[in-house]
Symmetry: C2
Subunit: 335 residues, 2 copies
């Protein structure tokens, strides 16, 4: 197993580091239109499938029952930066289900946003609300309450919420999510390893609605629209997911996952995208995703330069001096 | 060029990510006793050679002229965490040369120590003193003042300080540090790309004094002793370099560099070590360094378990649940 080098990290005249990886781009029939590296090996998708995990929240009627707004649905799909409006949105979601932050089982960490972390440090310490996954967890809790089941232990693989989520993931990916493919995610919910080709197929279905039954297709469309209209709620200030969806609107859906995973959809093209950087590097996964979008999405003239800055990001040091750049390799070039 | 996989990142039942890399272990004659992957390719050593860069500070007489303490010499070799005593030590170094923090050209960043960053955020913002390289820069400034040259621009490749540092690096590594191997480091000083086999040779000489002229050998011994006696000043609370040197004392010298580089010496064995993780991952470089030490350094019974925890570090999530571990591969096993 040796995936190709997809991204080089240049410093001055030389390549300093190299990132290998694999990429699958598929249509809603599961046909691969691009396959680079090993797209058959199981990959833990981590947070990159939050939007798929959120389908159950919508199609079950829980989102309507608690009157979740589009911002709040975007938070259910988010790895947010813990900025104040993210935290407030998650508190609202919990309150709508009659809960508060004590119900969250995701654990606490400092906001990913440095500005938010510095502001918080002046007066307090982080809670589970600041965890990048708190919106997803609030969605799980809303689902548990709407299902009329005890929300305690909602994060365990055997809980009805996780069983429902697993069933949706199996339907969309076509992969059997067996216990020998299951691990514990950073926020304690199960993460099931799924081949990139299946993840790409799932996101083609998520993006187009094709191959999904009516309620499921409607839920997918509603979540996509919520994210497209509220990209700041999906990540945060200056983040890749936010900036790409701000730039390209509803023509693209992208979502990061830990350990170098990225998933996305190009709804108008009917394509789904799944990326894994072998070594877990997010910086490389972002450049690869930007390169794939540039290859498959017809761009307007004004969009080319802003997108190119994500394909070949400049590296600057602590003094702001340009010291190098990330560059995608020939392995990703248009054939 | 395909370096072997040296570290696997396990999550539950599967490998989630993989790190490739290269390792050279050499004696003071430059003979390789271990060579894994490509040890001939030039690698930017970044902060891993700070102790070699500090040799000029000592052998020039600058350290004696300004009465630098062992803690301060350790800081000159450090990538410190910006904890209060690190910052105070750098201020003392600068004051001894009649300077203050305004002379530092390394740029500012938040302390690498989360506790120090949180404490600082309550009252202020970081300065260049908090930059992990500020001790090295204070050493460069002391050297400039002792040389009687204008300290302005001390970070530029053509400045007498950097020329002297380059000359020491060329002597120890035996590599020609030409302009086509030069890039700008995170703190703006030049970093010259050097093959791992040459870096390992240099650290064997640094660790043993063999092959160095008298003043240079004395300077190396003094810097090693300063770091061995003050490992907290070389990195900080809980950091790998600090913990390893606390555990094993003067029998080992280790120093991290950005982008997955690690260098070290086993003085009693007369060996030098140089590691590069291809993708730049520090987590993998640390596990590799711990594995190399375990292989080449005779250990006392009480040292085995603490060192093993660095060879196979456990991964825990935000709730403290054990979710996986890093494991070094057969490619690093004793033949």
């Amino acid at each position: 197993m040796s995936d190709p080098i997809l991204v080089e990290v240049w410093r001055g005249p030389l390549v300093e580091s190299r990132h290998r990886g694999a990429v699958a781009v598929a249509d809603a029939d599961g046909k691969l239109v691009l396959s680079v590296g090993d797209v058959e090996a199981p990959v833990f998708p981590r947070s990159a499938v939050k939007a798929l995990q959120a389908i159950a929240l919508v199609e079950s009627g829980a989102a309507d029952r608690y009157g979740l707004s589009d911002e709040e649905l975007a938070l259910a799909c988010a790895s947010h930066s813990g900025e104040p409006a993210h935290v407030e949105g998650v508190m609202r979601m919990l309150a709508k289900a009659g809960l508060d932050s004590l119900a969250l089982a995701c654990g606490a960490h400092w906001p990913a946003s440095q500005a938010a972390a510095v502001a918080l440090a002046k007066t307090g310490t982080p809670s589970a609300l600041h965890n990048n996954c708190s919106g997803k967890h609030a969605g799980f809790l809303c689902l548990a309450c709407a299902m009329g089941v005890d929300h305690a232990g909602y994060w365990r693989p055997e809980h009805p919420v996780q069983q429902k989520v697993r069933s949706v993931l199996e339907d969309l990916t076509g992969a059997a999510l067996s216990v020998d493919r299951c691990a514990v995610d950073g926020c304690s919910v199960p993460t099931w390893a799924i081949p990139l080709k299946n993840l790409a197929h799932a996101f083609a279905k998520f993006g187009s609605g094709r191959g999904l039954h009516g309620e499921r297709a409607n839920a997918a469309a509603r979540l996509r629209a919520a994210c497209a209209q509220n990209p700041w709620y999906v990540a945060g200030t200056g983040r890749f997911c936010t900036e790409i969806m701000k730039l390209l609107g509803a023509r693209v859906f992208v979502k990061t996952g830990a350990e170098g995973v990225y998933c996305g959809a190009l709804p108008e093209q009917g394509l789904g995208i799944a990326i894994k950087c072998d070594d877990g590097a997010g910086r490389a996964a972002e450049a690869i995703m930007a390169a794939i979008i540039a290859r498959f999405l017809p761009l307007e003239a004004a969009e080319r330069a802003p997108l190119a800055r994500f394909v070949t990001p400049t590296l600057r040091n602590w003094n702001g001096i340009e010291v190098g750049a990330l560059k995608v390799t020939e392995a990703l070039a248009t054939p």
